[in-house]
Protein backbone atom coordinates (compact mmCIF):
# COMPACT_ATOMS: atom_id res chain seq x y z
CA UNK A 1 0.00 0.00 0.00
CA UNK A 2 2.71 2.46 1.02
CA UNK A 3 4.72 1.49 -2.06
CA UNK A 4 1.73 2.14 -4.31
CA UNK A 5 1.09 5.54 -2.76
CA UNK A 6 4.77 6.43 -3.03
CA UNK A 7 4.73 5.42 -6.71
CA UNK A 8 1.64 7.56 -7.37
CA UNK A 9 3.28 10.55 -5.73
CA UNK A 10 6.33 10.09 -7.90
CA UNK A 11 4.11 9.73 -11.01
CA UNK A 12 2.63 13.13 -10.11
CA UNK A 13 6.14 14.53 -9.53
CA UNK A 14 7.22 13.20 -12.93
CA UNK A 15 4.14 14.43 -14.82
CA UNK A 16 4.71 17.95 -13.51
CA UNK A 17 8.30 17.97 -14.79
CA UNK A 18 8.17 16.07 -18.09
CA UNK A 19 7.98 19.24 -20.21
CA UNK A 20 10.96 20.82 -18.47
CA UNK A 21 12.91 17.57 -18.67
CA UNK A 22 12.33 17.26 -22.42
CA UNK A 23 13.05 20.93 -23.14
CA UNK A 24 16.09 21.41 -20.89
CA UNK A 25 15.32 25.12 -21.24
CA UNK A 26 17.88 27.44 -19.61
CA UNK A 27 15.08 29.45 -17.96
CA UNK A 28 13.77 26.49 -16.01
CA UNK A 29 16.39 23.78 -15.52
CA UNK A 30 15.61 20.83 -13.29
CA UNK A 31 18.03 20.26 -10.43
CA UNK A 32 20.34 17.27 -10.49
CA UNK A 33 18.22 15.77 -7.73
CA UNK A 34 15.00 16.25 -9.71
CA UNK A 35 16.53 14.66 -12.81
CA UNK A 36 17.77 11.70 -10.79
CA UNK A 37 14.37 11.18 -9.15
CA UNK A 38 12.53 11.51 -12.47
CA UNK A 39 14.84 9.11 -14.32
CA UNK A 40 14.76 6.58 -11.50
CA UNK A 41 10.98 6.70 -11.60
CA UNK A 42 10.89 6.26 -15.38
CA UNK A 43 13.02 3.15 -15.03
CA UNK A 44 10.35 1.62 -12.79
CA UNK A 45 7.07 3.01 -14.14
CA UNK A 46 5.91 1.82 -17.55
CA UNK A 47 2.98 4.24 -17.57
CA UNK A 48 5.21 7.29 -17.18
CA UNK A 49 7.70 5.80 -19.67
CA UNK A 50 4.89 5.49 -22.20
CA UNK A 51 3.82 9.07 -21.54
CA UNK A 52 7.40 10.26 -22.04
CA UNK A 53 7.60 8.39 -25.35
CA UNK A 54 4.32 9.90 -26.50
CA UNK A 55 5.52 13.40 -25.67
CA UNK A 56 8.66 12.73 -27.70
CA UNK A 57 6.54 11.56 -30.64
CA UNK A 58 4.42 14.72 -30.47
CA UNK A 59 7.58 16.81 -30.31
CA UNK A 60 8.89 15.05 -33.46
CA UNK A 61 5.57 15.60 -35.26
CA UNK A 62 5.63 19.31 -34.36
CA UNK A 63 9.21 19.49 -35.64
CA UNK A 64 7.99 18.08 -38.98
CA UNK A 65 5.23 20.68 -38.97
CA UNK A 66 7.92 23.35 -38.64
CA UNK A 67 9.50 22.12 -41.87
CA UNK A 68 6.24 22.30 -43.79
CA UNK A 69 4.86 25.56 -42.35
CA UNK A 70 7.85 27.91 -42.38
CA UNK A 71 8.05 31.27 -44.14
CA UNK A 72 8.84 30.90 -47.81
CA UNK A 73 12.10 32.22 -49.20
CA UNK A 74 10.30 35.02 -51.02
CA UNK A 75 8.99 36.44 -47.72
CA UNK A 76 12.43 36.29 -46.10
CA UNK A 77 14.01 37.96 -49.13
CA UNK A 78 11.31 40.62 -49.14
CA UNK A 79 11.94 41.41 -45.47
CA UNK A 80 15.69 41.65 -46.08
CA UNK A 81 14.90 44.16 -48.81
CA UNK A 82 12.63 46.06 -46.42
CA UNK A 83 15.47 46.12 -43.88
CA UNK A 84 17.79 47.70 -46.47
CA UNK A 85 15.18 50.28 -47.42
CA UNK A 86 14.67 51.18 -43.76
CA UNK A 87 18.37 51.76 -43.02
CA UNK A 88 18.76 53.71 -46.27
CA UNK A 89 15.92 56.03 -45.22
CA UNK A 90 13.62 54.97 -48.05
CA UNK A 91 11.08 53.68 -45.50
CA UNK A 92 10.61 55.77 -42.35
Amino acid sequence: MITTIRMMITCHFTARRISRYLDADPSAPLTVGEIHRLESHLAQCSRCRTAMGQYRSIDAALERRRLTHGPDERAVTHMRDVLERIVSGEIA
Binding site: S57, A60, A61, G70
Partner: protein, 188 residues
Protein backbone atom coordinates in the same frame (compact mmCIF):
# COMPACT_ATOMS: atom_id res chain seq x y z
CA UNK B 1 17.13 59.35 -33.98
CA UNK B 2 19.99 61.87 -33.74
CA UNK B 3 22.85 61.29 -36.17
CA UNK B 4 25.97 63.40 -35.94
CA UNK B 5 27.57 62.24 -39.19
CA UNK B 6 27.17 59.93 -42.13
CA UNK B 7 29.87 57.72 -40.58
CA UNK B 8 27.76 57.36 -37.43
CA UNK B 9 24.72 56.57 -39.51
CA UNK B 10 26.64 53.95 -41.48
CA UNK B 11 27.90 52.36 -38.26
CA UNK B 12 24.40 52.30 -36.81
CA UNK B 13 23.02 50.78 -40.01
CA UNK B 14 25.73 48.13 -40.00
CA UNK B 15 25.03 47.23 -36.36
CA UNK B 16 21.29 47.16 -37.00
CA UNK B 17 21.68 44.84 -40.00
CA UNK B 18 24.05 42.59 -38.08
CA UNK B 19 21.64 42.20 -35.19
CA UNK B 20 18.37 42.10 -37.08
CA UNK B 21 18.91 40.22 -40.33
CA UNK B 22 19.59 36.82 -38.65
CA UNK B 23 16.27 37.19 -36.80
CA UNK B 24 14.05 37.85 -39.83
CA UNK B 25 12.95 34.25 -40.29
CA UNK B 26 12.14 33.88 -36.58
CA UNK B 27 10.20 37.15 -36.67
CA UNK B 28 8.16 35.92 -39.64
CA UNK B 29 7.43 32.64 -37.87
CA UNK B 30 6.40 34.32 -34.63
CA UNK B 31 4.35 36.95 -36.48
CA UNK B 32 2.52 34.18 -38.30
CA UNK B 33 1.78 32.42 -35.01
CA UNK B 34 0.55 35.61 -33.35
CA UNK B 35 -1.46 37.14 -36.16
CA UNK B 36 -1.87 34.59 -38.95
CA UNK B 37 0.17 34.04 -42.11
CA UNK B 38 -1.49 36.69 -44.28
CA UNK B 39 -0.62 39.53 -41.85
CA UNK B 40 2.84 38.27 -40.90
CA UNK B 41 4.82 40.35 -43.39
CA UNK B 42 2.98 43.58 -42.50
CA UNK B 43 3.64 42.96 -38.82
CA UNK B 44 7.33 42.23 -39.35
CA UNK B 45 7.77 45.27 -41.60
CA UNK B 46 6.22 47.55 -38.99
CA UNK B 47 8.35 45.87 -36.30
CA UNK B 48 11.53 46.57 -38.27
CA UNK B 49 10.55 50.22 -38.77
CA UNK B 50 9.92 50.65 -35.04
CA UNK B 51 13.11 48.81 -34.14
CA UNK B 52 15.12 51.16 -36.39
CA UNK B 53 13.50 54.20 -34.79
CA UNK B 54 14.48 52.98 -31.34
CA UNK B 55 17.88 51.51 -32.20
CA UNK B 56 19.67 54.17 -30.14
CA UNK B 57 18.07 52.74 -27.01
CA UNK B 58 19.16 49.17 -27.82
CA UNK B 59 22.26 48.07 -25.92
CA UNK B 60 23.26 45.37 -28.43
CA UNK B 61 22.46 42.50 -26.06
CA UNK B 62 19.75 39.93 -26.73
CA UNK B 63 18.54 41.28 -30.09
CA UNK B 64 15.91 38.56 -30.42
CA UNK B 65 14.33 39.45 -27.07
CA UNK B 66 14.41 43.15 -28.04
CA UNK B 67 12.77 42.46 -31.41
CA UNK B 68 10.15 40.09 -29.98
CA UNK B 69 9.11 42.73 -27.45
CA UNK B 70 8.75 45.31 -30.24
CA UNK B 71 6.84 42.79 -32.37
CA UNK B 72 4.44 42.08 -29.50
CA UNK B 73 3.74 45.77 -28.90
CA UNK B 74 3.43 46.44 -32.62
CA UNK B 75 0.93 43.60 -32.95
CA UNK B 76 -1.15 45.02 -30.10
CA UNK B 77 -1.11 48.49 -31.66
CA UNK B 78 -1.99 47.23 -35.14
CA UNK B 79 -4.97 45.34 -33.74
CA UNK B 80 -6.09 48.39 -31.78
CA UNK B 81 -6.00 50.42 -34.98
CA UNK B 82 -8.01 47.87 -36.92
CA UNK B 83 -10.63 46.80 -34.41
CA UNK B 84 -12.61 50.04 -33.77
CA UNK B 85 -13.54 50.36 -37.45
CA UNK B 86 -15.39 47.09 -37.52
CA UNK B 87 -13.64 46.81 -40.86
CA UNK B 88 -13.72 43.49 -42.63
CA UNK B 89 -10.06 42.86 -43.34
CA UNK B 90 -10.40 39.91 -45.62
CA UNK B 91 -11.01 41.81 -48.90
CA UNK B 92 -7.85 43.83 -48.31
CA UNK B 93 -5.80 40.66 -48.59
CA UNK B 94 -7.82 38.99 -51.31
CA UNK B 95 -5.51 37.79 -54.02
CA UNK B 96 -2.36 38.45 -51.99
CA UNK B 97 -0.03 35.58 -51.37
CA UNK B 98 0.52 34.62 -47.73
CA UNK B 99 4.08 34.69 -46.44
CA UNK B 100 3.82 31.08 -45.40
CA UNK B 101 3.46 28.21 -47.77
CA UNK B 102 2.21 24.79 -46.84
CA UNK B 103 4.95 22.76 -48.45
CA UNK B 104 4.62 19.10 -49.38
CA UNK B 105 3.93 17.01 -46.30
CA UNK B 106 6.58 14.79 -44.78
CA UNK B 107 7.15 11.40 -46.36
CA UNK B 108 4.84 8.49 -45.56
CA UNK B 109 7.77 6.77 -43.85
CA UNK B 110 8.17 9.71 -41.47
CA UNK B 111 4.45 9.83 -40.78
CA UNK B 112 4.09 6.18 -39.88
CA UNK B 113 7.12 6.10 -37.55
CA UNK B 114 5.14 7.63 -34.71
CA UNK B 115 1.63 7.20 -36.12
CA UNK B 116 0.81 10.91 -35.99
CA UNK B 117 -0.71 12.07 -39.27
CA UNK B 118 -0.46 15.78 -40.14
CA UNK B 119 -4.25 16.18 -40.26
CA UNK B 120 -4.62 14.62 -36.81
CA UNK B 121 -1.92 16.90 -35.45
CA UNK B 122 -3.60 19.97 -36.96
CA UNK B 123 -6.95 18.93 -35.47
CA UNK B 124 -5.35 18.50 -32.05
CA UNK B 125 -3.67 21.92 -32.30
CA UNK B 126 -6.87 23.59 -33.53
CA UNK B 127 -8.80 22.11 -30.61
CA UNK B 128 -6.61 23.92 -28.09
CA UNK B 129 -7.66 27.16 -26.46
CA UNK B 130 -5.88 30.04 -28.25
CA UNK B 131 -3.65 30.87 -25.28
CA UNK B 132 -2.43 27.27 -25.11
CA UNK B 133 -2.13 26.88 -28.88
CA UNK B 134 0.00 30.02 -29.22
CA UNK B 135 2.50 28.91 -26.59
CA UNK B 136 2.72 25.41 -28.09
CA UNK B 137 3.44 26.84 -31.55
CA UNK B 138 5.94 29.41 -30.27
CA UNK B 139 7.99 26.85 -28.35
CA UNK B 140 7.55 23.57 -30.24
CA UNK B 141 7.21 24.83 -33.82
CA UNK B 142 8.87 28.26 -33.84
CA UNK B 143 11.43 26.90 -31.35
CA UNK B 144 11.60 29.88 -29.04
CA UNK B 145 13.01 29.39 -25.57
CA UNK B 146 10.63 29.87 -22.64
CA UNK B 147 12.08 33.36 -22.05
CA UNK B 148 11.69 34.33 -25.72
CA UNK B 149 8.10 33.07 -25.77
CA UNK B 150 7.49 35.13 -22.61
CA UNK B 151 8.89 38.21 -24.41
CA UNK B 152 6.69 37.54 -27.46
CA UNK B 153 3.57 37.24 -25.32
CA UNK B 154 4.34 39.71 -22.52
CA UNK B 155 3.73 37.10 -19.82
CA UNK B 156 6.01 35.63 -17.12
CA UNK B 157 8.12 32.56 -17.93
CA UNK B 158 6.10 30.59 -15.37
CA UNK B 159 2.93 31.28 -17.38
CA UNK B 160 4.64 30.01 -20.55
CA UNK B 161 5.66 26.81 -18.75
CA UNK B 162 2.23 26.22 -17.31
CA UNK B 163 0.40 26.82 -20.62
CA UNK B 164 2.91 24.72 -22.54
CA UNK B 165 2.58 21.81 -20.16
CA UNK B 166 -1.22 21.90 -20.41
CA UNK B 167 -1.18 22.30 -24.18
CA UNK B 168 1.08 19.27 -24.60
CA UNK B 169 -1.04 17.20 -22.22
CA UNK B 170 -4.17 18.04 -24.22
CA UNK B 171 -2.56 17.27 -27.55
CA UNK B 172 -1.33 13.97 -26.12
CA UNK B 173 -4.80 13.14 -24.80
CA UNK B 174 -6.27 13.71 -28.26
CA UNK B 175 -3.57 11.84 -30.18
CA UNK B 176 -2.89 9.08 -27.64
CA UNK B 177 -4.83 6.35 -29.46
CA UNK B 178 -2.64 6.66 -32.56
CA UNK B 179 0.83 7.43 -31.17
CA UNK B 180 3.66 4.94 -31.49
CA UNK B 181 6.35 6.08 -29.03
CA UNK B 182 9.86 6.30 -30.50
CA UNK B 183 12.93 4.44 -29.28
CA UNK B 184 13.84 5.52 -25.77
CA UNK B 185 16.43 8.23 -25.23
CA UNK B 186 16.91 11.33 -23.15
CA UNK B 187 16.23 14.99 -23.78
CA UNK B 188 15.13 16.46 -27.12
Amino acid sequence: MVQTSSADRAATAYAFRTHVEPEIEVLLRVASTLTGPSDAEDLVQETLVRAWRSVDRFDGRHPRAWLLTILRNTNINMHRRRRPDGFDEIPEYAGTRPAFDARPPSTPEEQVVDGILPDDLEAAIDALRPTFRTVLLLVDVDQLTYAEAADALGVPVGTVMSRLSRARARVRAQLRPTINPPEEGHGR
